[in-house]
Amino acid sequence: MLSPVILVPAVLNGLLTGAVYGLIALGLTLIYGVLHIINFAHGALLTAAMFAAFFAHRFLGLDPYLAAIGLTPLFFALGYSLQRFVIGPTAHGEDRNILLVTLGLAVVIENALLYAFGADTRTLNLDYAFNVVDLGIAFLALPRVIGLGVVLAVALALWLILSLTDTGKAIRAVAKEKLGAELSGIDVGHIYAVTFGLGTACLAIAACLLIPTYYVNPHIGNAFVLVAFTIVVLGGMGSVTGALVGGLFIGVVESLSGLYLGESLGQIGIFVMFILVLLLRPRGLFGERA
């Protein structure tokens, strides 16, 4: 069972799946790092993005990769408005309220999707979904390879935004010292909303990467967001590098535990990992000391 013939492809597949997990976790950790809130609506927003990508293909004939170009700004705007006009005003500065508001949003979004589209599990059949990249030692599914490439590009773009642009600098300033940033004339409300928008935009891209090989139903986001929480904790709350590395690592853990424990028990590995991290290194791999 340890022969490289299956071990190598299993690890590679895990890395590819993990990349998309990493992107979802990236959105989550970015919002946590700046706003210091756990966004419980993350999963529901991912589901919404997956439905958007699905129907963009069904009704407009848009390839999911093309749809990403339109959906990313759309979901940025959605995230921005949610924070600016719903979460921010209702929170009244209390973290506890934010928790409840995002949880409430999740319930509303999920049920709206359930009401609109029913509980059906839907899949897209794309011609290239089963094309493979032949590495000699393994055949890798083309959409997943594309996924890895896109995730790396997005991570790089995000890093450039954060380190080079004025908005990026403002985001980092708010994350480090909110009051100081406010005193230097940074519009904290705006920066919060931009960050929330960036996190949500990551979801739109992740959704477009997932939809060619995955299925969508109104509860699908939960499966991913649980994994994303684990990654964020593993990588260190608020750490962008941690989210990516954690994502890749968790992908491999899932793939290998699926291989050795069976498909029905595949996710056990992830949650064992979650508990171990909390016990042994609560600040995560790349987290700053609290």
Binding site: I6, P9, A119, F130, F139, S264, G266
Partner: protein, 412 residues
């Protein structure tokens, strides 16, 4: 009070209006609620998982049942009841046993005379149990788990074959096919979904394959839905069995076959028992390369029966695929209609008695006249099919085989 009282109470009006409004929305029944009391149509519960993971199969089942109801009504309804029309009360089990249960409760409140359907074993098992509490006749359309008919429920009838019969036929035919080819296959791997249907079948195969000189290398369970079969296929690649035996529903079956094709894993044969997609024209049309040479032991219509072929044409003219859910449900509705004719009543107890004594032979299956013993139709049996070219051929039994088996699979 009889079930067919013409008395119109407020609750009754609300109830029937709601039911027919729901039916009208689905576009299948549009009789105004008030007509029911005057013409006394017979309500028939049509229960399928039309949403959720099994939605494709459920919708196909509903299609078969509604075509049968349309045909019966067009031909003058139930003659013994003064030409009463059959009115479908459609239910969605949402691919879960709980969903099925809830629908049975609703159908009972809507005063249906009988229920057909269920599709998945787990749904049939609980739905028929709930129906039994109301002495409500329940005709299982597909659900093959043996314990569906061994619980001593008087109300439950299964028109199609159960696991025991299917597995025995499948294994006997597998041995014959293998012997005829010079015994190329000695080992097998079973890939099954982890609910009642797949697990039950896997257990049975694990017990019986060794008796027939096949070694089971590994048995791999997976949940429904599963959207990634890479790990499963890697395991198949590592163990390299002669045969892969999948026991799962449509989506997963297709995905498994396509992933095997993607990973260039090609065994001597894919032989399924009740393969979710192996005997499906949809699979063959959409993914002919992945489907090629797959053998299956499954429910199949009688290819010599003109009625079966007329139904095939009708379904295909509607742009749908002629899958086993369609002709199984079509036959089940005809079976209930025949029972209604002989019972001369829509009373549940009388329908149950009529079903117990059924000798119905007007169906489209290769079963011969119906004979229920403890709720199981004795003549029910599966056939063996193989995907050859762009068609599905019957390769066993000889009496209506349309092609010879191609085994082992030619190398690509």
């Amino acid at each position: 009070m009889s079930h067919w009282s013409a008395q119109l109470t407020r609750r009754h009006l609300l109830q029937t209006t709601a039911v027919s409004a729901a039916a009208a929305v689905t576009g299948l029944v549009n009789a105004p609620a008030l007509l029911r009391a005057q013409g006394s149509p017979v309500k028939l519960g049509v229960l399928h998982p039309v949403s959720g993971a099994l939605s494709y199969s459920g919708q196909q089942g509903r299609l078969g049942a509604t075509i049968a109801i349309e045909e019966i009504n067009a031909a003058g309804g139930i003659k013994a009841l003064g030409g009463a029309k059959i009115e479908a009360v459609l239910g969605d089990a949402q691919s879960t046993p709980e969903g099925g249960n809830a629908e049975v409760e609703k159908m009972n409140s809507a005063n249906v005379a009988a229920i057909i359907g269920g599709y998945a074993s787990s749904i049939c098992l609980t739905a028929s149990q709930t129906a039994a509490r109301y002495d409500l006749p329940y005709v299982v359309d597909v659900g093959v788990a043996d314990n569906i008919v061994t619980r001593g429920l008087k109300n439950t009838f299964r028109f199609g074959p159960g696991f025991g019969v299917i597995a025995k036929t499948a294994l006997d035919n597998l041995v014959t096919i293998n012997d005829q080819a010079g015994k190329p296959a000695k080992t097998a791997m079973i890939v099954h979904e982890d609910s009642l249907f797949g697990s039950g079948l896997a257990k049975l195969l694990n017990a019986q394959l060794p008796e027939r000189d096949f070694q089971v290398l590994e048995t791999i369970p997976h949940p429904t839905p599963t959207r990634d079969f890479n790990n499963v296929v890697l395991k198949i690649k590592a163990q390299n069995p002669d045969l892969v035996i999948p026991a799962n529903y449509y989506n997963e079956y297709v995905l498994l076959a396509r992933t095997m094709q993607q990973q260039r894993v090609r065994q001597k044969g894919i032989y399924s028992v009740l393969g979710g997609a192996a005997s499906s024209y949809k699979f063959v049309k959409e993914f002919p390369e992945a489907a090629q040479y797959i053998m299956d032991c499954n429910h199949w219509f009688d290819p010599r029966n003109p009625k079966a072929l007329a139904l095939k044409k009708k379904v295909e003219d509607r742009g749908q695929f002629y899958t086993y859910e369609v002709f199984m449900n079509f036959s089940c509705v005809l079976l209930v209609a025949d029972a209604l004719e002989r019972a001369g009543s829509a009373e549940r107890a009388k329908i149950i008695t009529a079903l117990e004594n059924s000798t119905f032979s007007g169906h489209v299956m290769p079963y011969g006249p119906t004979k229920f013993v403890n709720g199981q139709n004795q003549g029910a049996a599966p056939v063996n099919t193989q995907v050859l070219g762009n068609d599905i051929q019957v390769i066993f039994p000889q009496t209506f085989a349309t092609a010879k088996p191609v085994f082992p699979m030619p190398r690509a």
